[in-house]
Amino acid sequence: MRIGIVCPYSFDVPGGVQFHVRDLAQHLASLGHHVRVLAPADDDAVLPPFIDSAGRAVAVPYNGSVARLAFGPLTAARVRRWLTEGGFDVLHLHEPLAPSVSLLALWAAEGPVVATFHTANLRSRAMQAAFPLLRPSLEKVAARIAVSEDARRTLVEHIGGDAVVVPNGVFVDDFAGAQPRPAWTGTPEAPVVAFVGRLDEARKGLPVLCEVVPRVRAVLPGARFLVAGRGDLAAARALLPDPAGVEFLGAVDDAGKQALLASADVYLAPHTGGESFGIVLVEAMAAGVAVAASDLGAFRRVLDDGDAGVLFATGDADAGAAAVLGLLTDPARRARLAAAGQRTARRYDWPVVAADVLAVYETIRTGLAAHARVVADRRLPAPGAPDGSGG
């Protein structure tokens, strides 16, 4: 199958949508499909061979933060040319309402379109105002995918229609087989709690973590908190009343993240909102670390209502500390949850998720082919012959 995938965000900076697109394309290509990805990127950026650049991304304020997007007539022309030259059987757009190449591709698209909504900010006032202009384009989308039941609900409530749920994927074996690093491995006296996330986005929960630290260390004075993620270190340190016990690792690469999760005793996800999926929880479960997470709808679902991890009241540092302590002081329970987590994580393994995505592509193509047969039959002189579609 010839598959065209469009990512609105620049590959120059890491991000959930970019990783998802990269891994999906990689996996589909490994199954023998012809896959091209279009995304903004700097001219001198080193890209995987299947990615085409849609031109340089511009940093613009959008939706409360600075996003790197590509737009304008030149980009629109490039997108159009890419579509024509690609001759795709299926066009798969990610985040089709972000003001970047996905939206431009949707505007220009003629053939069957599949669209994945990751964290669509459908509630924003800008979106509400501009939506009547976008609706005609959006009507071209033959198959909508939401990354979680929560994302689907938001979609249905705000723009109507319906979507199917296909979760984000993780290469589970990369995490399950990761080797712990001695420096990050906990001992009974100094257990390790890990956190991965942007430091300067409060909704990722660093402020809550900083309140959890002293509460945990009051009971377990040796407990170490390893914080990995990009952001302003000085500002992050300022949140801590006492810097002891917290180590900032800065940005880590894939291997570093895998090793950190494989080494830690507990993964703490103190996010306070805005999460539509929670990929990092799946990564933690895949690596075999017990998870304590805020009670957000998306997290609750990923953790099987608490069967695969401990949930605590969102934003509540006391509850968070109690959840972490409960795990750190009970190794048997920790092992049980880690094992349950590893089983749950298999559901999000790329082979499983990509099969779901392919099923979506094939369902669309089946309909088009069947419809074409019906139309052809109708043109035949002998009427009434039902089309023999079946197995």
Partner: protein, 188 residues
């Protein structure tokens, strides 16, 4: 203003109106195409599911009582009358009997399918495809009905003789109760 200017203004207004109507007609045409293709896809997936279920029932892998229940539900689905896919040549849009049969097959599969049974894999795959196809079809129907409810579409008769599409309301076994409870609000 001179009569020439008035004529020009009137011409501009007519052009703008024509442009708007033609763009709306194009949207509607695209949506109708989506409804027809997604419906054709749903038909194929439903037939596939029923054939797979019938194959499982007659394959000798299940006990006779289970086989009979499954075969009955599968043949009911295969024998149910089909509505033509094209919106414009259908006169009878009442699929109620059809959907009852499909819900029946879903329920039979839910009761009968042994968890983890190897022969059930094909049926399960087909059932999953039915869920997808139904969602995509209902999504198209909901958006089409929304546009067709607009005054400009009704007054300018942009829909021609095409019948108003209906959502495929049957139990496909998907968790969450299906889209109707959420999507129905946007239909009417």
């Amino acid at each position: 203003m001179s009569s020439l200017a008035w004529t020009l203004v009137a011409l501009l207004v007519v052009c703008a109106l024509a442009g708007y109507l033609s763009a709306t007609a194009q949207r509607l045409d695209r949506l109708h195409h989506r409804v027809e293709t997604s419906r054709a896809g749903l038909e194929v997936e439903l037939t596939r599911r029923a054939s797979a279920a019938l194959e499982l029932a007659t394959g000798g892998e299940l006990d006779p009582a289970t086989s009979l229940i499954l075969a009955d539900a599968a043949t009911a689905s295969l024998d149910a009358p089909r509505t033509p896919a094209a919106l414009r040549d259908a006169t009878d849009a009442d699929d109620a009997a059809r959907w009852t049969a499909e819900s029946g097959l879903t329920r039979a599969l839910g009761v009968v399918l042994p968890p983890g049974h190897p022969a059930a894999g094909r049926v399960r795959d087909a059932a999953h495809r039915v869920e997808l196809a139904r969602r995509f079809h209902n999504d198209a129907v909901v958006q089409t009905r929304r546009l067709r409810a607009k005054r400009v579409v009704r007054w300018a008769r942009l829909a021609g003789h095409a019948r108003l599409p209906e959502t495929a309301d049957f139990d496909d076994g998907s968790a969450g109760g299906g889209p109707e409870e959420a999507a129905g609000r946007n239909v009417r």
